[in-house]
Amino acid sequence: MPPPNTPEEGMAADGLQPLYDEPLQTSSSHPSSEMAHASQDESCILKLDYQNIEYIEPIDDTLLCPICKTPFHSPITTACGHTFCAACINRALETQPTCPIDRQPINKTRDYRRLPLIIKDQLDRLQVKCPNRGCDYECSREHLEGHYERRCEFTQVRCPDPTCTKLVARRDAIATKDCMHVDVACEFCDQSMSFPQLTGHYNHECDANFTECPDCNTPVVRHRLVKHRTQDCPEGNTQCKWHTAGCKVVDKRRIVQEHEQSGCSFEVVGRLMQQRVEDRKTIDELAARLTKVELAQSRRRERRIEHSSRAGRSPIASSSRSAHTTTNLPDITLNNNHMPLFPGSAADDSAAGGSAEDYMLARFERLETQLERFERLETQLEQVRQQAREIDTRQSHMILQQATHFSEQLAEIGSKVGVVNMHMSWLMSLQRQSNAQQRAGSAAAGGSSGSGMSHGSGSGGGARPGSSDDSGVRYLGESRRHSEGRPESLHRL
């Protein structure tokens, strides 16, 4: 028996995992086809590599994929609750179909869960830099793909030559239709390279990268030497910046700068001149704006004249200008002083024998005054109308008040009539009773009726029929009604 823990015995370990063999094979065939597809895509444009993005702010550890250690890209959460980039977990499952964190078995089709949107939002909002060298664009990660694949001038795209399979930066690709991958020689060293590499070569690789400035002896990137000598080199010759004001100082930049800082005597003049130039600029600008406004105004006027003349005296407007220069000449002379807007042009025109425009303007002005008068009349009319309306309301109000008064009085009268009516009926019934009593027999003479009579005559002079005094009188008629009503109410109870 071989000793435990030796390599030979380990062979048995193979048999321990037959369960995993099958899904492993099926899953491995799928990603490989994916990979082939991806490589095809790459030939036309390089996809944005999310693992290569530089993030502006430090990222919270919880947003990092535990496999690639970069912020999640299209993340997936497993049934056991762990989250990975889709690509990372897929690749990990190829070799071992368990969760890389807690080793719970994972079935790709069954155990992938939808990621909470809040995490997606967090990831989308991360601020990133464009991964292209030379591009300093920054945006949220959500928008980076659009920038990189469609807009960034530094993204590698296909060479404009359709037969060439190499890539070139987008900004260079637009400039020409020829292949960019013809070798060009660096003008400073012996190397030759293709055009897209040239800029990088100049800045970073070229052996003759640095050269000494002949004036100040400091190393300068060679292709920036010209700029250095004309703008930066402290030993290069230059003029005082106030040379336009008359300063004659011409010396090395270092000295000239000192001279400028210590106070060039021409500085005051120079500043004045600068200011004057600026003022002049604003004046020109304002003048241009003024002429524009005037032009627009005159155009508007013309249009209005046309409009009004078409509506009114069409023959004058439509007929040629020469017609009214003769017929309506007085108008022009009269109205010439109402033209403050075009003093120059009016004078020119009048010198040429009076222009149609002036006439039209005059007409227009007259029309305008008429219009004003109309408007005034209109407002007056409106005022009158309002006054009439006011009077109307006041009157109706008064009528209403009076009417209510009348109706009140009417109601009073009505009630009084009712009272009289009652008295009448009472007297009538009394009369009837007495008649009946008289008819029943003279022998039976009721004291009660007598007393009722005396009562009734007494109360007859009173104003109120419903007072307590006549309760005795009403007793006769109403008591019956009461006695009849009572059993009914009892019944109901």
């Binding site: 823990n5 390599p7 496999i67």
Partner: protein, 155 residues
């Protein structure tokens, strides 16, 4: 593409490692993304490993971290191979964490070092694995091709 995947991941790790490492672990060299050297020390007073430093060599395949790295102890004049029933005298380590089955892509260089540290810390047997001499004499395989049998989990 997969090669660059490993490189990117190792770049991230290197960035983190060079900033801070747990006590007892030191980065010796990481010139490329193929092979790194680290030194580890056992921090407690285990008499077996006191005052010793051990050199670890990591070798990363192109599919790291999906595949485990190859980790061995390296012998140098001042860097012995630690005595441990899972460490062969040629430096090969028998640890399930470093095998296909035990490895997980969420592991990293730092976590492997720490696991090895704790593996040594917990050991009290001053011995080599059984069959060490034969294995060392016979073996020409690289550690990743060896099929270990992890028979005990208590050491």
């Amino acid at each position: 593409m997969s090669a660059s995947f490993a490189a990117k991941r190792l770049g991230k790790e290197l960035q983190k490692i060079s900033n801070s490492l747990p006590p007892g672990i030191e980065l010796v060299s990481a010139e490329n993304f193929d092979e790194w050297l680290l030194d580890i020390k056992v921090l407690d007073n285990n008499p077996l490993y006191q005052n010793e430093t051990y050199r670890l060599k990591f070798r990363f395949g192109p599919s790291y971290p999906i595949e485990p790295p190859e980790v061995v102890f390296v012998q140098l004049p001042d860097r012995p191979i630690p005595m441990h029933p899972h460490v062969y005298s040629n430096g090969i380590i028998c640890l399930d964490l470093l095998g296909q089955q035990g490895w997980s892509p969420v592991q990293n260089v730092e976590s492997v070092c720490m696991s090895l540290q704790s593996m040594l810390t917990g050991n009290s047997k001053n011995e080599r694995p059984p069959g060490d001499e034969d294995f060392v004499r016979v073996n020409r395989q690289r550690p990743r091709d060896i099929q270990f049998y992890y028979h005990d989990n208590d050491v």
